[in-house]
């Protein structure tokens, strides 16, 4: 923007001119009063002249009327039989003033009877249809009529008519046309003010006389002339300004010559051209205008020059600096300002300001460079959407990486970008623009887009309204980054989850049906077990009582009555006792078997080596005659129920002890097999060199009451290995055996190596 010197100058000058206005007004009022005075003076003179003219015409009219009255009397007196005596008439006319052009008498029929001058058409001319005749006959009064061309005279004159009466009887009309020169004489007899003119009009507006310049006007109809129209509206003498004869504007005074018969017989106008009236005032006004103009011109010139020197030149200097600053030249400085103190101070302040500006501009530039580097380095595209929400105004280079499209193309035509977005996302995008504008906040949106290579990806965008300093909307600042990897991973995860969920559902359904089946089976088993339990218990318990009786009473019989029995009787009694004893053992073993099924288990770590040694010691103590070589491996550890495992070892070692009874060199060995099939399940073995058995029966030995030897060979109930089997099974393991008749038997059993809880029900 350039400083407008003209504007400042104009305002300064206007101020000065406005200051001059009161002076101009005072001068104007003074000039105006001069006009009033001139008008008053001019009016006074012409009014006086008009009054004078009216007086002269009144006198003239009275004299004319007097003459015609006496002429009428003469005619009446001399009339004979209704016919005027023209001789007497002629005589009476001897004293006729010269002002009349002729004098004519017409009778009541309008026939001319006498004429002072000869009439071209002859004496018998009838004038009954003449207006003047009709006016006098109807009015019976003196009439001054409008100018007209005389019937007899053949030129213009002022018609005057007078009734010829005999008492009240109408005898005829006396016509006395007046030459216009007569009227001019009257006007000239009155002195007019300098430059003024006087005009006499008849009642129809025709100029009857004029004191000057009469040639072009006298006899002409001027009824439509402004001055006459104005004057004929008045009823008494007045003055006014109007345009008059010759188109000249005049100050007029008017007066009327009135007569009973014809009203305004004459209208007199005395006028002075306004140029004459206001001559002095006009001269004064002209002088004043010149003076004021010169004064204003001087003031304007002075203010223009002063403004330029004192204000504009320093301001222009400052303006030049501002322009250079605006063009980016931060080194621009105003020099020292000469002149007024305020402007000098302004210059100094301005210099300080430019220093500060340059400093800030430098910082701003550094900051701007830093931010631009940052914007172009981050792995996201930034962009600015125009305020109407459609076009892109800015777009960073990263969009090339995201979309594979040159940002310049999108800036030129946003449709290139919109074509890459699905219709639904485009709607959401526009909704997001509306939303962020409404909420005045940042709004995020994920958009699927098609890259230049036709593959699809995902952008996460955030936009927020960006505003100018004045609060108007600049556009929408946005950022977009690629989240394709994340979205794809999420999709995959969701799919996998769905598949997994489906699998879990079907497995759960299978499991729950299986579980139901298991529960049902288990309930059945438990019932069966409970029944078996109750049965076993009551059998073994109830069987013991009578057995005790058999055994006890047999013994008492032997003790008390042995003398009464022979040898055979005592032998049979011994068999009874032996059978009872075996039955007792059988019942106890059965009870042991049911006990294994029933007891709850508490799992703990068991030192098998130590436990085996204890069992062997008790076996040796109960059978001191035997010599058995026992090898027990050190450090055998297993997890299980302590009392059950004790029963297990009692039975296994007891069996081995029993079945090696007939060997001269008995050998029993307990150990762990070096390579277990499953790391968790350690396989232990108990090997003896005892009687052994036929492997064909190997399946039988772990079932209750299955014996492979006679009681005579080896005592036993056939329940021991069944108990072993149940204990191992309850611990989750497996037991099996190999054997060879006469060579020995090896029993293998698996036991847990982990302290896990093993199922504790049956």
């Amino acid at each position: 923007m350039r400083l407008s010197g003209g504007g400042l100058r104009f305002r300064l000058t206007s101020l000065l001119v406005i200051a001059l206005l009161p002076l101009v007004v005072v001068i104007g009022v003074f000039v105006s009063t001069r006009y009033d005075v001139a008008r008053r003076e001019g009016r006074g003179e012409i009014e006086k002249a008009a009054e004078m003219l009216k007086a002269r015409h009144d006198i003239w009219l009275a004299r004319t009327e007097g003459f015609l009255t006496s002429l009428s009397s003469v005619l009446t007196a001399t009339t004979m039989d209704g016919t005027p005596q023209c001789d007497a008439f002629q005589r009476a006319l001897a004293t006729t003033p010269e002002s009349f052009a002729n004098v004519v008498v017409a009778d009541s029929n309008g026939d001319i009877k006498c004429s002072a001058e000869p009439i071209p058409g002859g004496i018998s001319t009838n004038v009954a249809d003449r207006p003047s005749f009709k006016a006098v006959r109807d009015g019976r009064s003196f009439q001054v009529l409008t100018l007209g061309e005389g019937l007899v005279l053949g030129h213009q004159y002022l018609p005057i008519a007078f009734p010829w009466l005999d008492g009240d009887r109408f005898l005829g009309v006396i016509f006395a046309p007046v030459e216009l020169g007569e009227l001019s004489g009257i006007i000239r007899s009155v002195a007019m003010p300098e430059g003024s003119s006087a005009t006499v009009y008849d009642q129809g507006g025709t100029v009857a006389a004029r004191n000057v310049d009469e040639g072009p006007f006298v006899g002409t109809d001027q009824s439509d002339q402004e001055a006459f129209v104005a004057a004929s509206d008045f009823t008494k003498p007045s003055s006014f300004e109007a345009k008059g004869l010759g188109g000249v504007r005049r100050l007029y005074a008017t007066s009327f010559v009135e007569h009973v018969g014809s009203g305004k017989a004459f209208i007199i106008l005395v006028g002075t051209p306004v140029s004459v009236v206001y001559k002095g005032a006009n001269q004064l006004r002209a002088a004043t205008i010149v003076g004021v103009s010169v004064l204003v011109a001087l003031v304007v010139i002075a203010s223009f020059t002063g403004a330029h020197l004192l204000v504009l030149r320093p301001i222009s200097a400052l303006q030049g600096v501002v322009r250079r600053l605006a063009d980016g030249d931060m080194s621009a400085r105003p020099g020292e300002i000469k002149g007024a103190g305020e402007l000098r101070a302004l210059g100094v302040s301005f210099g300080d300001m430019t220093e500060a500006l340059q400093d800030r501009a430098t910082k701003l530039e550094t900051s701007e460079r830093r931010f631009r580097t940052m914007i172009e380095t981050i792995p996201a595209a930034t962009f600015l959407v125009s305020a109407e929400g459609e076009r892109f105004k800015e777009m960073s280079i990263q969009i090339t990486t995201l979309l594979g499209i040159d940002p310049a193309l999108i800036l030129a035509d946003p449709q290139i970008a919109y074509d890459r977005i699905g219709e639904g996302d485009l709607l959401r995008w526009r909704a997001a623009i509306d939303e962020c504008l409404e909420l005045e906040t940042s709004v995020g949106l994920d958009i699927a887009f098609q890259r230049a290579d036709e593959t699809w990806g995902w952008l996460r965008t955030h936009i927020r309204p960006s505003r100018n300093a004045d609060g108007s909307l600049l556009g929408f600042q946005g950022v977009a980054f690629d989240i394709s990897d994340r979205v794809e991973a999420q999709h995959e995860l969701a799919q996998m989850n769905a598949v997994l969920e489906e699998r879990v559902k079907s497995r759960t359904a299978e499991l729950s049906s299986l579980n139901l089946e298991l529960v049902r089976l288990n309930n059945g088993l438990m019932n069966a077990n409970e029944e078996l339990e109750a049965f076993s218990y009551s059998v073994s318990h109830d069987l013991r009582a009578p057995l005790r009786g058999i055994s006890g009473f047999a013994q008492l019989l032997e003790m008390d009555h042995a003398k009464q029995l022979d040898e055979e009787g005592l032998r049979l009694l011994g068999r009874v006792q032996g059978a009872a004893m075996r039955m007792g053992v059988l019942i106890d073993d059965l009870l042991g078997l049911t006990q294994v099924g029933k007891s709850s288990m508490s799992i703990e770590q068991i030192n098998l080596t130590q436990m085996a040694h204890e069992v062997v010691e008790s076996l040796a103590a109960s059978d001191p005659g035997r010599s058995v070589k026992v090898d027990i491996q050190d450090g055998l550890i297993a997890y299980g129920d302590h009392s059950m495992v004790r029963v297990l070892l009692d039975n296994l070692l007891g069996n081995a002890w029993k079945f090696t009874g007939k060997k001269s060199v008995a050998h029993i060995e307990l150990g762990a097999s070096s390579e277990p099939d499953e790391p968790r399940w350690q396989v232990f073995f108990l090997r003896d060199n005892g009687a052994g058995f036929d492997v064909a029966y190997v399946d039988k030995i772990f079932h209750p009451f299955q014996r492979l030897h006679t009681v005579e060979e080896f005592e036993g109930t056939g329940i021991g290995l069944a108990i072993v089997n149940r204990i191992i099974v309850r611990h989750g393991g497996r037991v099996w055996a190999t054997s060879e008749l006469g060579k020995g038997t090896t029993v293998f059993f698996q036991m847990d190596q982990m302290p896990n809880k093993i199922e504790s029900s049956q």
């Binding site: 318990h541 009473f553 004893m581 106890d588 007891s599």
Partner: protein, 153 residues
């Protein structure tokens, strides 16, 4: 003979009663033996209803009770429970003498305050030995609780 305190045998089986008597005799335990045949009878004997008795008619308490578990009317476990719940009988040495070796019965008996739990052996010699040792221990070796009112001179 070991003192003159009475032994109360609660046993429904005639055979067992006879064998027990014989075992006590063979074991040289000459104390008086009172035999009741079911749980109700045992309770009536040990905790009689006061209305049914005159003053000073309360019976002497036995020095030892041998209690079978499987009894008609009122079972041995219930008899033990009521004895231990009653102030007068709560301290009387009571030995469970039974055929049962059920863990349930063992656990319940001890938790209710049985002093011993002995299984009747089938072999009569063993049975005699068990009874003899019981008598020896509870009637001679063991000191009864104070103020029980059942030790009579």
């Amino acid at each position: 003979m070991i003192g003159n305190q009475t032994i109360l045998l609660v046993e429904d089986n005639d055979d067992d009663v006879e064998l027990t008597l014989r075992a006590l005799r063979d074991g040289l335990i000459a104390n008086d033996l009172i035999v009741v045949r079911d749980g109700l009878e045992a309770l009536d004997y040990l905790i009689p209803d006061k209305k049914d008795l005159g003053k000073n008619e309360m019976p002497h308490l036995p020095a030892l009770i041998l209690l079978d578990l499987s009894l008609p009317k009122v079972g041995g476990i219930e008899v033990l429970r009521q004895l231990r719940a009653n102030d007068r009988t709560s301290s009387v040495p009571t030995v469970i003498l039974t055929s049962s070796l059920r863990e349930d019965d063992l656990a319940k008996s001890y938790s209710l305050g049985a002093n011993s739990y002995v299984r009747k052996p089938i072999n009569f010699k063993d049975f005699v030995e068990v009874v003899r040792q019981l008598g020896l221990y509870w009637l001679l070796i063991n000191e009864p609780p104070p103020g029980g009112g059942f030790r009579q001179s």
